[in-house]
């Protein structure tokens, strides 16, 4: 699914302009990382793309549009329902969309298998590690087979090793499914490692300081983390941030 922002503006409390006339196009199937300092409006941007809040002016077009529920959202923390087990948490979106129980459980089980949680179906969020909870959250987002996946600093609260695992897993899921991904992060290394294209936002007004296609191999694994090409991309992104 392609996303087209034209002159998008968002103002809070009457005069706090968080995003000012932003233009941004994201192609179908792209993996875009959005970088920017804390408070620059990254979450605001994602929420508008997800139609969870409306821009004050400008337009956000999704193409092809028409079908509902084609967008999924992953938050900074897992935000699972603590009274539901892993399977029921992953099946929640389908349940809310009115899917029958056998069908939704089957699909939830399939997607939980993809994130390696097949042996934890009956467990409750309180019984899982932070990394497992985030994988359930990812499964919950993927269970609807979204064509647009929005992630808002999803792995920021995890330890680095768990984050490395999840980065690789997310990248694989994207390659297999070919949905559009917009990944918000404040980690330069994570942005460079994951994305095909990175956008760096200015501290205020949502101005785009850098928009770059990353020159890195399609397959991203942990070997790439020590690759000089990754270092080069990170330097470029960092340069734009510090500018």
């Amino acid at each position: 699914m392609a996303v087209q922002l034209e002159g998008v503006r968002r103002v809070f409390d009457n005069n706090h302009v968080v995003i000012d006339r932003m233009d941004l196009g994201v192609d179908a199937g792209e993996f875009l990382a959005v970088l920017g300092p804390s408070g620059c409006g990254k979450s605001t941007l994602l929420r508008m793309i997800a139609r969870l809040s409306e821009p004050d002016s400008g337009q956000i077009r999704l193409q092809p549009n028409g079908a509902r529920f084609e967008t999924s959202f992953v938050f900074q923390d897992a935000h699972l329902l603590p009274w539901r087990n892993v399977l029921a948490n992953a099946a929640l979106p389908l349940e809310l969309m009115g899917e029958a129980k056998p069908k939704r459980d089957e699909r939830a089980r399939a997607v939980l298998e993809q994130v390696g949680l097949l042996d934890a179906l009956d467990r409750y969020p309180a019984e899982l590690s932070g990394g497992m909870r985030m994988r359930v959250s990812l499964a919950r987002a993927l269970v609807t087979e979204p064509r647009l996946l929005l992630l808002d600093e999803p792995f920021a609260a995890l330890d680095e090793i768990t984050r490395f695992h999840l980065d690789v897993q997310l990248r694989e899921l994207w390659q297999r499914r070919g949905m559009t991904v917009i990944f918000v992060t404040h980690s330069v290394s994570e942005a460079a490692f994951l994305a095909n294209r990175a956008v760096v936002l200015a501290r205020s007004g949502g101005a785009i300081k850098l928009d770059r296609r990353l020159e890195l191999p399609a397959v991203r694994n942990n070997e790439l983390r020590a690759d000089p090409r990754l270092g080069q991309e990170m330097r470029l992104l960092l340069g734009a941030i510090e500018e």
Partner: protein, 250 residues
């Protein structure tokens, strides 16, 4: 579990022994504080009367408590439906709580007559507010990202209420129910002082007959009733929340 039951028994036994000693040795006058053994004897001697009274008070408290739980949750849901509704009505809920029950009880008799209805109404009035306040605060503090999630997948307000907001409010609801359980017993006894029946009446008549041992026996039973109700809610809360709420995991 055993230890948590045993530990509070130790001070109880100690206090009982000390009280017994103080009364027998003449440090405390028996018409002010009876010896624990006298209270025990009063319990045995008047067991039929006391048990009947306990049963009546239990019925009154329980009925009032159940009404509080149901109405309290319903009112909290209504109040949570819109900010306007909340602004208009919540102050009255608070005001309602500050009206002294003991002053209202005679009114209840006028409205409901001498009998269990007044006792139930009194238990209800005494115990409804903590359910409203805690449930409302639980519903309102539902995690915003989860509300976004429900919105994203097109959940109606009713679905969001039953699948998200009410379950999310459960820990706080139970906090309210625990407080309100004790208050329901107090409310029932106050009602009985005025409308008659139950342990409240036993306390009243025993007092006029200078039977301080019997007063104590009835008070003790009333406390045990409150404790039992509290324990029941605790158990229910534990069974419901054990898989998911951090405070229930210790």
């Amino acid at each position: 579990m055993k230890k948590t039951l045993l530990a509070p028994l130790i001070p109880f036994v100690l206090l009982t022994l000390i009280a017994e000693f103080l009364v027998r040795a003449g440090f405390v006058r028996a018409y002010l504080v009876p010896a624990p053994s006298a209270v025990f004897r009063a319990m045995i001697d008047s067991r039929v009367e006391l048990l009947q009274a306990l049963f009546a008070t239990s019925a009154g408290s329980l009925a009032g408590f159940v009404m509080s739980a149901l109405t309290g949750i319903a009112i909290a849901v209504l109040l949570s439906s819109s900010r306007g509704v909340q602004r208009a009505f919540y102050p009255y809920a608070i005001f309602f709580q500050t009206v002294p029950l003991i002053a209202v009880a005679p009114l209840l008799v006028i409205w409901f007559g001498f009998g269990i209805q007044t006792v139930i109404a009194s238990a209800f009035v005494a115990s409804v507010f903590p359910v409203i306040a805690n449930t409302l605060s639980g519903i309102l503090s539902t995690d915003p990202p989860l509300r976004d999630l429900f919105k994203l997948y097109g959940a109606s307000p009713l679905v969001t209420l039953f699948k998200l907001r009410l379950p999310a409010a459960l820990p706080q609801l139970f906090t309210g129910l625990r407080v309100s359980a004790g208050l329901a017993v107090i409310g029932a006894i106050v009602g009985e002082f005025i409308a008659g029946g139950g342990l409240g009446s036993v306390v009243e008549t025993a007092r006029t007959q200078q039977r301080i041992d019997k007063v104590f026996a009835a008070v003790l039973l009333a406390s045990l009733l409150g404790l039992a109700l509290f324990g029941f809610i605790n158990l229910l809360s534990h069974l419901t929340l054990r898989r998911w709420h951090a405070s229930e995991q210790s």
